[in-house]
């Protein structure tokens, strides 16, 4: 039965039920409820919780836990996720899975406490040094986020990659009715250290980066082929297709439904995986579409880059791609509709 739960708490409980047995992290608004909840909840199920001295230490504790083959979690926001990039890069290099939840807040540097989508480019391009990708999940409701937690671990373990769940301040803080998933038996992955050197690992001095690059590309190609996830509505006959994810994706869905009712042929692609980007959805777009419009909660427009890239790749036509960056918060339906009117009136120019 569904019960009203706060986003961060529901996600934390879903992690416990997915068999997570180590959380390490450092408090930061608007993500802190995740660690507060797990500080007492994980010991109840025989798991470990460490309040780390920093986000750097937190992600490195997670690295240590993952190397032993258990399901591990950390969460943070804004500058905290910046500090975690060192560990995310190292986890990726060692092909150790972990779930990192970024409850995105707005701003550069210390930033603000406003809900936002300003970390899109960083999360979808790796984020730390080197050349790697994380699978990036971007739920638009608490139920979707909760259902995704188990999937996140399955994907991470299948492909041996870090999975980033990019929620937003709004999703973490709001309450919605949620049905929690069933409990899973915690597992030990076969590569986990047991002190007996049961799993033979190639030492860093014996690695061949050129050969690894071939394998890496193969793996990423497989992820792109098999793991694109999205929701779409009304794009087959649309004159204009909106692209928006997360909570803004939800309000954009409301906007396109109202616009449809008012006689505008509009549709929506809502990415559920930001990486791999759901380019397959673009194959369903009306070939005579007049424009692609992203709705984003950031300052400069980031999702628009991917929307334009895949418009070119899939549609092979010079279709204008617009960005509606609302800086922070959840773009209201009436404002999305007003901006759409401005696009139709030629008052907002395309980005690409």
């Amino acid at each position: 039965m569904a019960e009203m739960m706060k986003g961060n708490i529901a996600i934390a409980e879903a992690a416990v039920r997915a068999g997570v047995r180590l959380y390490a992290g450092y408090p930061i608004t608007p993500s802190s409820e995740i660690m507060e909840y797990l500080s007492w909840r994980l010991p109840e199920v025989g798991g470990a919780f460490v309040q780390a001295e920093s986000e750097l230490a937190g992600i490195n504790m997670v690295y240590g836990g993952s190397s032993c083959g258990v399901r591990v979690l950390t969460a943070s926001s804004g500058p905290g996720i910046s500090l975690k990039q060192e560990g995310i890069s190292v986890l990726s290099d060692e092909e150790l899975p972990a779930l990192v939840i970024n409850v995105v807040r707005y701003g550069n540097g210390l930033g603000t406490l406003f809900s936002s989508q300003c970390d899109y480019l960083r999360e979808t391009r790796g984020g730390g040094n080197g050349d790697y990708r994380c699978i990036v999940l971007c739920p638009s409701s608490i139920q979707e986020a909760v259902d995704m937690v188990s999937t996140a671990y399955e994907l991470g373990e299948k492909y041996r990659v870090v999975v980033v769940m990019m929620t937003e301040g709004a999703l973490g803080q709001m309450m919605e009715p949620v049905t929690l998933p069933e409990f899973q038996e915690p597992k030990r992955n076969y590569w986990g250290f047991d002190g007996k050197y049961s799993y033979k690992k190639i030492g860093i001095f014996d690695r061949d980066s050129k050969k690894e690059a071939v394998e890496l590309n193969k793996k990423y190609a497989e992820i792109k082929a098999n793991e694109q996830r999205w929701e779409e509505e009304g794009i087959e006959d649309a004159d204009y297709v909106f692209v928006a994810y997360g909570v803004p994706g939800r309000s954009t869905l409301g906007a396109i439904r109202e616009l449809r009712a008012e006689g505008h042929k509009v549709g929506l692609i809502r990415p559920i995986t930001a990486w791999p980007f759901p380019e397959k959805a673009f194959e369903h777009i009306n070939k005579n579409v007049k424009g692609i419009i992203t709705v984003e909660a950031n300052a400069t427009g980031q999702l628009v880059d991917d929307a334009a890239l895949f418009t070119k790749k899939v549609l092979r036509a010079d279709i204008p791609v617009y960005a509606l960056p609302f800086v922070y918060g959840v773009p209201p339906i009436r404002e999305i509709k007003a901006k759409f009117a401005q696009i139709l009136a030629g008052e907002i120019k395309e980005v690409y």
Binding site: R21, L22, A24, A48, V50, A52, E53, S54, L56, A57, G58, N60, M61, V62, Y63, G64, G65, S66, S67, C68, V70, V72, E86, G87, V90, E94, F193, D194, G195, K196, Y197, Y199, K201, G203, I204, F205, D206
Partner: protein
Amino acid sequence: MAVERKVPAIIDNPMSFCPGCGHGIIIRLICECLEELGQDQNIIFPIGVGCSSNLGGGLVTDRLHCPHGRAGAVATGMKRVNPDNIIITYQGDGDAYNIGIAESINAAYRNENITVITVNNTNFGMTGGQMSVTTMEGQKTSTSTHGRDCSITGFPMRFPELVASQFHIAYAARGTVSSPAHINQLKGYIKNAIEAQMNKEGYSIVEVLSPCPINWNLTPIKAMERIDNELISYFPLGEFKQRSVKEA
């Protein structure tokens, strides 16, 4: 009774340390202790960045290269999920005390049940001999070319003394490899540290003064002499925190 001293089974590959380096002796001692304590098939090494990384190439055990300075945190994550494995961090002074001071201090502060071995050669060896937090006053390095000026860079840090005096840890000691007598003494310290972890007494650390002839610009013998004549007076050998629980 005489006991044959064989190379411990978990040391399988040659390691590429410079001639006259102390790392080889230290790694050998750790592995001998693990074998003698019956823990050589129950060991995970989170390894630092720098010359200490070479441990990874030499041993056939579970081992993981950590980001620079973070071994204290990585070891914490390992120990919390695998409490019955012996976890030994193997780090240099630059790794553990410069870039990793936060992770090192906090692992000690929590009295994390891990063992820390820090090889103190008073410089960043791997990157070409830069000044570290343990570089002696007046010591010339590639970033203190006129000799370390402690008035603007601080004085050499004595980490085992710091954590032994301030935190509730299980064991802290400093040894060296400058003579057979010192090597035997050091082996006793390492054994104590591992036993403390086996008995779940808490955090144990052994710092080892180790020669770096290449970056000290000394012959191997002169480098050993520098330890005895110059370093020990500032970095005294001995136990700074003794185990309160002794084995039966």
